[in-house]
């Protein structure tokens, strides 16, 4: 090693400050356009796309709705969601395990956000990495399916901790999965004592009115970090 004198320099910077800065810009754009934005997180297969399909269809009667859908590869989900009549765009991350504010910014190009009342961002199926990235959303929704095990929130406390809403999905399968609702709610409350929880089934429609009502009332600005 060199004999050059060593010295210490102060940095004190959040490592994701670039993302936070871009997310702040996005939030300002959303607010100026009057569009409410929701970031959907879950592990793969928890039912984000199915819930979104039903959500876009139902909200679409009354509101102008759009969705950005993140996946490692394929545009299958975007094509599926477009059938609801909503404006949909796929974000293929090419292997990146989460969405970042920069990716969202680039995929909003060409859209006039004032054309929408609601924008949903379906994150990449992953309960770890997306947690760190603010996308400027007004609400962060974390899904857990009844088939996943009641202790999922304990295994991913960092993700459930920051959920504005926890959706227990596929509730129509609760009995077959021997799902213990009280245990699941206790797990969520353990990492997030103030969590709002709604149990839903996109297939039977259970809980969807409550979910849509939550979306409609959630217009407040929300700083993630």
């Amino acid at each position: 090693m060199s004999d050059l004198p060593k010295r210490l320099i102060d940095v004190r910077q959040h490592v994701l400050s670039k993302n936070d800065h871009l997310a702040h810009g996005l939030r300002q754009r959303y607010d100026q356009a009057g569009v409410r934005v929701f970031n959907l997180l879950s592990s793969p297969g928890a039912g984000k796309t199915r819930l979104l399909e039903e959500t876009l269809r139902r909200l679409g009667d009354r509101y102008r709705v759009a969705a950005l859908v993140g996946d490692l590869a394929t545009d299958n989900d975007a094509r599926r969601l477009a059938r609801s009549g909503a404006v949909v765009r796929q974000i293929e991350t090419g292997g990146l395990c989460h969405l970042e504010a920069d990716l969202v910014t680039r995929h909003l190009e060409g859209w006039d956000l004032a054309d929408f009342d609601f924008l949903f961002i379906e994150n990449v199926g992953n309960l770890v990495c997306p947690t760190s990235y603010d996308l400027g959303e007004h609400g962060r929704v974390v899904l857990m399916a009844v088939t996943e095990g009641e202790d999922k929130p304990l295994k991913y406390p960092g993700t459930f901790r920051w959920a504005d809403l926890v959706l227990i999905s596929k509730i129509d399968m609760a009995e077959a999965a021997e799902f213990d609702s009280a245990a699941a709610r206790a797990s969520i409350a353990s990492v997030h004592p103030d969590a709002t929880i709604i149990a839903t089934s996109a297939r039977t429609g259970a809980g969807l009115d409550e979910w849509l009502a939550w979306l409609e009332t959630r217009g407040i600005r929300h700083e993630i970090s």
Binding site: L96, P157, P193
Partner: protein, 114 residues
């Protein structure tokens, strides 16, 4: 495994700070990482080694200070560290609390440079 992206952010921030300070080489990076930051230190070290190759940070050491979750309990009117980040209860009075004051940090605090 988003630690590779995080490592790339680290390189960018550290190089900029080092250049601004007129340094030629970064030898140590001091980080503060909360246990709920969703960062695995081992994965970060691994990614860091890969992305620093050929940069001012090549061969630099990562000094990671892990921070426990600290809550504020309104009942006790005091802060306390959680022994377990999965149970948001005050360790003193056992009451549930959602008021977190530390544990999500991911901060580059300082650099040792030459």
């Amino acid at each position: 495994m988003h630690e590779l992206s995080i490592a790339m952010n680290l390189v960018q921030i550290a190089e900029e700070a080092a250049r601004k300070a007129g340094a030629s080489q970064v030898t140590v990076l001091y980080l503060r990482v909360g246990v709920l930051s969703a960062i695995v230190p081992e994965a970060l070290r691994f990614g860091f080694e890969i992305v620093t190759d050929g940069t001012m940070l090549a061969g630099a050491r990562l000094e990671i200070e892990e921070l426990p979750v600290r809550i504020f309990c309104e009942h006790c009117a005091a802060e306390a560290d959680l022994p377990n980040p999965q149970i948001f209860c005050c360790p003193t009075c056992q009451r549930p609390t959602g008021h977190m004051v530390q544990g999500r940090e991911l901060e580059l605090t300082s650099l040792e440079v030459t």
